[in-house]
Amino acid sequence: MTDQNSMFNALCRRTFLSRGALGLGAAALSTLAAPRPLHGATSELSESKGVINPLHFPPKAKRVIFLCQAGGPSHLETLDYKPKLTEMDGKPMPESYTKGQPIAQLQGNELRCFGPQRKFNRCGQSGQMISDVFPHLGKLADELCILNSVQTNQINHDPAHTFMNTGSQISGRPSMGSWVTYGLGAESEELPGFVVMTSVGGGPSQPIATRQWHSGFIPSRYQGVQFRSTGDPVLYVGRPRGVGAEEQQDVLDAVAELNQMRQQATGDPEIATRIAQYELAFRMHQSVPELTNIADEPQHILDLYGTRGGDGTYAANCLLARRLAERGVRFIHLYHRGWDHHGSVKKGVADTGRLVDQGTAALLSDLKQRDMLKDTLVIWGGEFGRTPMGQGNGRDHHIKGFSMWMAGGGVKPGITWGATDELGYQAVENIFHVHDLHATMLYLLGIDHERLTYLSQGRDYRLTDIRGNVVKDILA
């Protein structure tokens, strides 16, 4: 008990400030003024603060920024160039493609090809085909590893998100951000390890549920914490009205002191955890507003992202994502909910693209100029793609072949991996399943996806269930 006792003694009156003057607390407080440089500083040794220790492989990436394009962006109007589909426009979709395949809203309708609605350009030195929906991103083509052969298992939004996030359509499994923070721990002393942000615009906003960032059966402290654009940026991080910073701290100090007395009386080790959590709460009172207040960003950075910040737009969230990454948040998950273009796909992808393109590109170049792209894995994509068949002037959900991209964090830049057939229906070359995405992502973080497990209901569960291959061809 001596260790614990000395710890409690250190937590004497004025707990937080007095600790703030020395040791760990001082380091924590100093980061409130300036983010700690995380990149480059840590050694190549594969240590982690999570359950995977040492890491299974030398990690290429230290953190993940997952840019979820919710609703299902049309690969045919963005990243998958299909001239043959243009030729076939208006003609019946050959039945050989569609027979026996799951179909969502087009159930029972006549299926006809619908030509791509946007113009594609060769971009960068790598000459990757990217549509005019992404003019900014096109300039960064040489950073992207475009995946044109992604497949998933679920054709409706809700289960498809659940599948993308947890590797299973059955709810109750941990989301990938939870798995990653469980495996690697958090780097930040004053922020959660797994942060979620959302934005809307450009098309119908499909509902999205907290189960998408839930920790399922692994302990709930690995759950994603949502950063909000209205009200408190983190739930209840704002003090009650009439309670000043000092008064709040007085209360926290009294709580700590009384808890400590109780700990000595009962020997309950859980109280030590409670004290530590209140201390973290105290730090969040400061670190969260500091994080979300972007007044210290220079004008050229705001211009780069195309945001003035604080407005809950996707671009503002991209900027916050960079700030979170700098502060050691392990898994940053952005959702932009505007890609469900059942109708008017031509205009829809352009509208949504406009809201997404600049911020995404800015995030990549900003990370790069800070030398953080090399150990930050950025993943972009939706829960599924869209049919080559028209639904009026839009497209329906589609799971047999669609596009995503990855960048940074040990991924080979400037390549396109995999391909769909000539109509963009079925992934036929180097099929890249969602399970493979998970396996590859974990590999880049230094984790063998078959060895990151959690025992529940008598079985060791994995993010990749019983599947998943690390796709080494796309690794740098």
Partner: protein, 1020 residues
Amino acid sequence: MLKPIYPNSQKLLLPLLAAVLLPLFVRSPLVAEDVHYQRQIKPLLIKHCNACHGPDRNGQENELRLDLREAALESAIEPGDSANSEMITRMLTDDAEERMPPLTVKTPPPSAEEVALLRRWIDEGAEFQEHWAWVSPKQIEPPEGDRWGQTPIDRFIRAGHVKHDLKPAPEADRRTLIRRLSFDLTGLPPTVEQVDAFLADGSPQAYQRLVDRLLASPHFGERMAMYWLDLVRYADTGGYHGDNERDHSPYRDYVIDAFNENYPFDRFVREQVAGDLLPRATQQQQIASGFNRLNMTTREGGAQPKEYMTIYAADRVRNTVSLFLALTFSCCQCHDHKYDPYTIRDFYSMAAFFADIEETVVGTQKPLVLLDQLQTQRVYDLDQAAHSATKLLEGESALWDAAQAKWEADVQRKVSAEDGNWQLVDDLQMKSDQGGAFKRLEDGSLLATSERAPIDTYTITLPVPAGGLSAIQLELLPEASLPQNGPGRAGNGNLVLSEVEVFRGEQQASIKEAVASHSQKNWDIAATIDGEPATGWAIRPRVGERISAYFELAEPIGSAESGPQKLTVRLRQLYGSGYLIGRLRVFTTVAEAPLAQVKPLLAHKPVYDALGIPPKDRSSKQNALLREHFRATSPETKSIRKLVAASTAEKKAIKQAARKVLVSMSAEPQVVRILPRGNWQDETGEIVQPAVPESLGSLELAPNERGTRLDLANWLIEEDNPLVARVFVNRLWKLLFGRGLVKSLGDFGSQGALPSHPELLDSLSVDFVQNGWDIKRLLRRIVLSKTYRQSSDTTDVSLARDPENTYFARQGRFRLDAEMIRDNALSVSELLVPKVGGKSVRPYQPVGYLAHLNFPPRTYKHDTGENQYRRGIYTFWQRSFLHPALALFDAPAREECTVERSQSNTPLQALLLLNDPSYVEAARVFATKILSEGGNGDRERLDYAFQQALARNIESSERQVLHDLLAKHRTHYRAHPQEAEEVLAVGLAKAPEELDAAELAAWTSVARTVLNLHETLTRN
């Protein structure tokens, strides 16, 4: 030798219950000192051999089974002789070809110790023991006790202490006992008065009386329901996609009532699984059967009903099996269980029990409307009145017939005048943008004849009529050459008219209004003049019919003399896939306000069509239609119609105000097949009938009789079902100690934990069943034991010897559940409204918390009045965004059966308790209470605060901390009265005027501190 409980082949059916009759199981597996199969050997076999030699027939790579004794003895094991057992020699060989497990597997090979253990086991005879949970429990005589405790529970527990060299903790003090018991049995803390009364009761019966009082409290049911609702995944919303509200709260109230009235557990189970199937089912029993409707449901457009039918079925199976049998059955949705004797066939046979439940697979669920006796009578009377009036309205009446004849004549005059207004345009030209051709038919209509394009725009040119025009009519006509007879060209006869534009010369003439004789749902004619090409007008399901669309110009075009002579009408059809007009005619009119005359006709088109036919030529259907229309609209029948309308309206109002609930209603069962790999699109699997898992027994049914949910329920609560009673008893034990006798509350299978006190679990279970499944009696027995009454304080020794408290040499200590944390704060501040039951309520919640929901977007309005201060169990359970006060304290979203909540300890909890208005308000009201009732002076009041919140006396060191805080904040708020007023303004409860604001604000800081203490959140 024990018989294996599951058969090698389909023919060798050996139901478990038969095996159970063998008098072999009055044994205590933990006493055996030999190598223990269950604890030591089976885990090794599972780890190293199971993947190829286990029960999953799909994974089976050869015939050899090492989980079954008979099979293993045939070739792999020689009992008593490990040296000559193939299993061991193959493990030890150097020959890579022969080596087992193969060197290619990923699991590290068995260690030398593991092999040695296997050898010892074989040398000792290679006994396979039946898995404990597949065998019915038996009553076992408890060991001799000592002076510590004489109840059977204490004697079993004491034996464990002795065996593991543990000393029981002393009995907890009375204050701890009453606080513990109050939380455990009612979920609420004791009041100061209750604590004082208990302390003052010197009788030996005091504790027992306290237990009986708490078991009789109406809050007992709430506390038990809190847990039960996790198990059955009760929520107020559908869960998937839009996560819309559903009506379930009467089911929740049924559960509370059932616990309060101490329904025997067998009745409780039967009513939930099959209440609707009971003879003369009461309303309560129907409500109970809502149990089967608690699964998540979707309304997402594009969701495939067949897929969701499979999802719901699997959900019900998982839930039933986790809830009652604690089996990990979900594996069997795709394949046979890897470790336990359950098959994919068992899974779908179980699903077949629920195949009779009527539900809307994708869409809004239809609830049962709950009316009380008075309401039922009133609805009956209203129905009667409406029925008589309707009969009168429909009956013979010479008077009305005469009035109708007069009306018909009047209308006909009007209609013919109207018809005369519209002039057919027969000198028009129509061109297709896509080069399509049209044929002019005799009636002046144009028929599209060439191959259609996906999209097209028709441009019609016509001379301005001599008298000018105020409106244009497009008449779409059916035609045999069109798909489904048209009038559209799409495969289904439909069309989409995206935009209509009219030009006089080069000048666009704006259209004021458009109406049509019919518009498809969500494809209204108004979309043709909204300037938005993405929207349009369509006509399904009225294909094959004549349909007219009318467009009134904002400014009528004058006579032909002035202005350009050419009129152009553009029909833009941009939907794609050939949704184009197939045949049309064009009319114009000069009438003033032309649509005002058209609209009433359109509203009742079939009526006016019938009126256009001479009476003698009308069909009987048309005659009936006219009569019906006349009587439904004529002033002659008005009074009688008013009566019908009033009855209908009152009935609707009664039903709207009534509570509703989803219940089970039995219909013709759906066909259930085994779905290979769980694939809902695979229809090759065998059709299965309802059946319980084969290895657990079978139902007694007549030949060709189909098992029902009632049969399932009755099987579950059969006296010798080996699982149901044990599973439930174990969970109750967990509620009272923080840990079950079987640690894995949700897994009684071979991968689950073994019972720490198997004999105690069995004795309690048998006793529970034999005493009529009496829940209160069982709880009473446990809480009266010495085991329960131990202190939860730990010492270094007790922590080191038994860190997880497996042997119960102390009580458990754990954080209160989410609902109780709220209940406690409300109770301590006496804000709590202790009303039992009712619709779910909405406490304060951060603005925008539901912003991510859609279809429809949600705005949250917190309750005012008493519903703001109800217990946590009544909080509206929004599955996709559970109220943060619940979610942050580990309440599950209830998407699946939750047998055990996690117990997290996070900074977000601290933020919530510090800053959530519910807690700030509770603290302030608590402070008011301290000032008004806590005596005089700071010292007395601080003592009172601790008594009220923690049921104990404050220590002087503790008092000092709080007093320092109080003094500082008193000074602060006196200097900053504005801040004090702000503190007082949090929440709906008004602060009493007579109290000094600064004083109250300072005491609020003290109260907030107390409500944030670890001890406040902890049951010990």
